[in-house]
């Protein structure tokens, strides 16, 4: 016992000394990051990278700001309150088209997880059967794909603004609801609705694959310190790989973070979410390397938005994207 203790003390001292030397040698650069929503498994990779010290290893002294409905990341990014954030590609294209100088430095999700969910009991099995139905939709960015979808299938729907809870759908207040595959869809299942009682419409199945979460920074930030930006991306991707390789450890951390934020912290739900993120980030059907924004994806999103009248002109891909990382 005493011997083990002695070894432990020795190790601790060595580590402390090493850390001190490290800090002295490499002056850490301060940076901040905000995810676009609460600290759920959707952002497990960033939190993992932070916890495991992947940012610090690359010389970044990172602060992760609490995300959520009260803290829109785009506002914080534009105001300079954060250096990095995640945004949906569509929102970022909109911002760039509006003249905000933000750049995508990594496209994390290659597949759209946005979907519409309907109860089969409401008689909805095909897109055409949506006609005249009450559809719960989130804010404007979340409406681009549904509206293009309705136009494509020439259906008129009654749009009901949808909050961040899925209860309106569960209580029968709407016939269809917007859902993220990794989040609300599972919430519906775990409210006692069986998958075979539901009809699902994944937009990526209908030619409307809008890749979602990507990492953004200001063009100015990138131009000043591209090494920092790419180091952030590298560390984040390493974090994701680590999270996928160690799901239970990652879930421990996610659940802990959610509890600290006084948010529902169902481990089962977070496990589902982490599994889905793995599929969305390491999407098997995609030829695009992890973390890379494909021009065709950018073009699809931008042109659809232009057609929808969400933007007046398409930003240039070269202006919009700074490639930091490519691996597979």
């Amino acid at each position: 016992m005493r011997r083990i203790l002695r070894i432990f003390v020795f190790l601790a001292a060595t580590l402390l000394a090493a850390a001190a030397v490290h800090a002295d040698e490499n002056q850490l650069v301060k940076a901040s990051f905000i995810p676009q929503w609460i600290p759920q498994a959707q952002f497990a990779g960033y939190y993992t990278a932070y916890e495991k010290g992947f940012y610090a290893e690359r010389g970044i002294d990172l602060t992760i700001l609490p995300g959520g409905p009260e803290c829109p990341p785009d506002r914080l990014l534009l105001s300079g309150e954060t250096d990095f954030c995640t945004l949906w590609l569509s929102r970022a294209v909109q911002l760039r088209a509006q003249g905000h100088k933000i750049v995508n430095i990594a496209q994390m999700l290659q597949r759209s997880a946005l979907m519409l969910v309907a109860r089969k009991s409401r008689g909805i099995d095909t897109p055409q059967e949506m006609n005249g139905k009450k559809v719960g939709l989130w804010g404007p960015i979340f409406q681009i794909q549904p509206r293009a979808f309705f136009k494509k299938y020439e259906v008129m729907v009654q749009v009901i603004p949808q909050s961040f809870s899925i209860n309106l759908f569960l209580r029968g207040g709407v016939d269809l609801a917007s859902a993220m595959w990794y989040n609300e869809y599972h919430t519906i299942l775990n409210s006692g609705v069986n998958p075979d009682e539901l009809t699902t419409f994944f937009f990526h199945d209908y030619g409307l694959n809008f890749p979602e979460d990507g990492i953004y920074t200001l063009e100015e930030t990138y131009n000043e310190n591209p090494e920092l930006c790419c180091a952030f991306v590298e560390a984040s991707i390493e974090g994701w790989y680590y999270a996928f390789a160690h799901p239970e450890e990652t879930l421990d951390m996610v659940v802990k973070n959610l509890k600290q934020a006084h948010l529902p912290a169902g481990r089962v739900h977070q496990r589902w979410m982490l599994s889905r993120m793995r599929e969305l980030i390491l999407w098997k059907e995609s030829s695009t390397p992890v973390g890379v924004l494909a021009r065709k994806d950018f073009d699809r999103v931008a042109s659809t938005m232009k057609n929808e009248g969400m933007i007046h002109r398409m930003p240039e891909f070269e202006d919009f994207y700074r490639k930091c990382h490519a691996d597979r």
Partner: protein, 645 residues
């Protein structure tokens, strides 16, 4: 079974009765346990029913009072436009009058209360024992798409929200009852706003948490979405739904029960405790107004404790009873088998031959007593039989010994000493008789008639037994006496014939060959009374039967004449005489030794001394009929003539 098969009756009785009654006992105990368990389960089921209903009633009373208070207020705001002060007073009074209500709000549709404002609401809430009021105007609180507003609006009916943690209050669990209200706008009844009452659920959590079934049974409450509102495991509360628990446990059964619960059904189903992992039963029933469901878990092992204890006691008593029963069986079996064992020991002695062995005393007339009596009878009968047998055997032995003596006497009258005339070199004579078991009637004899004449006789009396032997003795004596009187062979046979035939009521007869050899010349005069023809074995030349063969039987009929024949023996010639015991000796194939075989065998033995010749033929006969019992006397005689020295 082999273990049982060769054991004593006591062992078998004990083993079989024990096994049989054990089986019956086990069946009864099993049935008893099943039935008791069923009874207890039924009781638990009804207990579960009453418990859940009582708890639900207590909750329902509170919820119903809030529901009715809220609906009353909606009626007021539908009828009265009300000023800001009126409406503030309204929400304040709702909070004041209902101690469980934490806050109350009246929220209007955009531009209804105030044409310029998209959102307008009045709110009263408890704060440190006092009641505070606030007015929300415009953008500072966007409630239109909050569940508490949107759901009753879209459903057009009052609803209970999913429970939630109060945003400002920290860890207080709340649920909001929201009732839409309507006013006539442009001749049309249209939604004007929503009136709410926020209910703190602390009391409800306490109420449900206080449910304790035995030691580890518990109650829990789930919301309409299946979210666990109260549960002994605090980590699950508000984090998990009953369905996510089912997913974590990979249990479709849990999920089905959960679906049954959120559908508002009542039930009683097998369940596994989420806390202890114990098996048991879940009774559940819905809270009608909110769609929530109360589940109460009953741990099976604790419910069945009494039944188990009862069963354990019964098994213990049963086993004790068995031991007693075993003792009784042992005593009974022993009392039955003891006389049997005693009888057995006696019969062992009897079986060994000791018929005087003591049989056990008959104490009762049961099967063993009867058996003992039978053995006694059997022993007596056996004894009598053996006595008779002994007597009969003694009688037979006496007869046999007399017969033996008779036989010895009979044999004794035949000359046995060889060589009989050692001083006379002119001839050799040798004879032997092998008597059959029964007294037979073969005879032979030889004697000097005078200094130069040797008479020799061989014969065979008809029949067997004492009569034959007596007849033989008579015939032999008669022949000798007659021959000595100086008659020739034919005359001798005639005279003997007449003597024997006279008063021969038994019609017995004898075959006789009688020869008289002149020792000086080798002339042989002979007569044959129906006897097998002797063989002449010459020194050189072929062996031949002496002619003429046959002749009449001696003693059968009076007055028969016999003829004498003559032949001349040269030195080295041998006359071989025999009875039909030789030629008619039979082998196992019912073949006779036959004269041909005799002749052949004699040929091979012709150069032997006469004793060896006779012994050789005897050996051949024995060899021939070795598997067949000898049925007739075998007699042979050989006379070898050497002539004068």
């Amino acid at each position: 079974m082999r273990i049982v098969r060769n054991r004593g009756i006591t062992f078998k009785l004990i083993a079989l009765i024990f096994a049989g009654s054990m089986l019956v006992f086990a069946l009864i105990m099993g049935m008893d346990y099943m039935v008791s368990r069923q009874i207890v389960l039924e009781k638990v089921k009804s207990n579960a029913h009453y418990l859940t209903e009582a708890t639900l009633n207590r909750i329902q009373i509170v919820l119903a009072s809030i529901e009715s208070a809220t609906r009353n207020q909606t009626q007021y705001v539908e009828w009265e436009r009300g000023t800001r002060e009126d409406l503030l007073l309204l929400v304040r009074s709702l909070v004041e009058k209902n101690p469980e209500v934490y806050g109350s709000a009246i929220a209007f549709e955009p531009n209804v209360f105030n044409a310029a404002s998209s959102c307008f609401a009045f709110y009263a809430y408890r704060c440190d024992e006092a009641i505070q009021t606030t007015i929300f105007d415009g953008i500072n609180y966007q409630y239109l798409y909050k569940d508490w507003y949107q759901i009753p609006k879209e459903l057009n009916r009052p609803v209970w929200s999913e429970p939630y943690f109060d945003e400002g209050g920290g860890d207080i669990l709340m649920a909001t009852y929201s009732a839409p209200f309507y006013r006539a706008l442009a001749q049309e009844r249209s939604l004007t706003g929503v009136l709410t009452a926020d209910l703190s659920l602390s009391w409800l959590q306490q109420l449900v948490s206080s449910i304790r079934i035995n030691r580890t049974g518990y109650g829990f409450l789930i919301s309409k979405n299946g979210t666990l509102i109260t549960h002994p495991n605090p980590d699950l509360v508000m984090n998990d739904t009953i369905f996510s628990v089912a997913e974590a446990r990979n249990s479709p059964h849990f999920r089905e029960i959960g679906r049954s619960m959120v559908r508002g059904e009542r039930g009683f189903a097998p369940w596994t405790s989420i806390v202890t992992g114990k098996e048991g039963w879940l009774g559940f029933a819905p809270l009608e107004s909110s769609g929530w469901s109360l589940g109460v878990f009953f741990p099976e092992d604790e419910l069945m404790e009494d039944v188990s204890r009862l069963t354990r006691n019964a098994i213990f008593l049963g086993l004790a009873g068995f031991l007693v029963l075993l003792g009784v069986i042992f005593l009974v079996a022993d009392s039955i088998t003891k006389p049997l064992r005693e009888l057995y020991l006696s019969t062992v002695d009897i079986a060994k031959g000791d018929l005087d062995a003591e049989l056990p005393r008959v104490r009762s007339l049961d099967e063993v007593g009867q058996l003992t009596k039978s053995f006694r009878h059997m022993r007596r009968a056996l004894k009598e039989h053996i006595d008779q047998l002994t007597e009969a055997t003694a009688a037979r032995e006496r007869i046999e010994s007399e017969l033996k003596i008779a036989r010895e006497i009979q044999m004794g009258i035949l000359p046995k000493l060889f060589p009989p005339f050692p001083d006379e070199p002119e001839f050799d004579i040798y004879a032997t008789i092998e008597p059959a078991k029964e007294v037979g009637g073969d005879l032979y004899d030889f004697y000097h008639l005078d200094e130069h004449h040797l008479c020799f006789v061989i014969g065979d009396v008809s029949g067997k037994g004492i009569p034959a032997s007596l007849f033989m003795a008579v015939a032999k004596t008669l022949i000798k006496a007659t021959a000595l009187s100086g008659l020739d062979p034919a005359e001798t046979l005639s005279k003997v014939n007449d003597e024997l035939a006279r008063d021969n009521d038994a019609c017995m007869f004898v075959t006789v060959f009688l020869g008289i050899l002149d020792l000086r010349t080798g002339n042989l005069e002979y007569a044959n009374g129906g006897h097998n023809p002797p063989l002449i074995v010459p020194g050189r030349g072929e062996i031949e039967f002496l002619k003429p063969p046959g002749g009449s039987l001696v003693g059968a009929m009076e007055g028969i004449a016999f003829e004498s024949s003559r032949m001349s023996m040269v030195p080295g010639d041998t006359l071989f005489l025999y009875t039909d015991g030789v030629t008619e000796a039979m082998n196992e194939h019912l073949e006779l030794f036959s004269e041909e075989r005799l002749k052949r065998d004699l040929t091979s033995l012709r150069d032997q001394p006469i004793k060896e010749m006779v012994a050789g033929i005897m050996h051949e006969v024995h060899h021939f009929s070795q598997w067949v019992e000898q049925s007739d006397d075998i007699t042979m005689m050989a006379v070898k003539y050497w002539g004068l020295p």
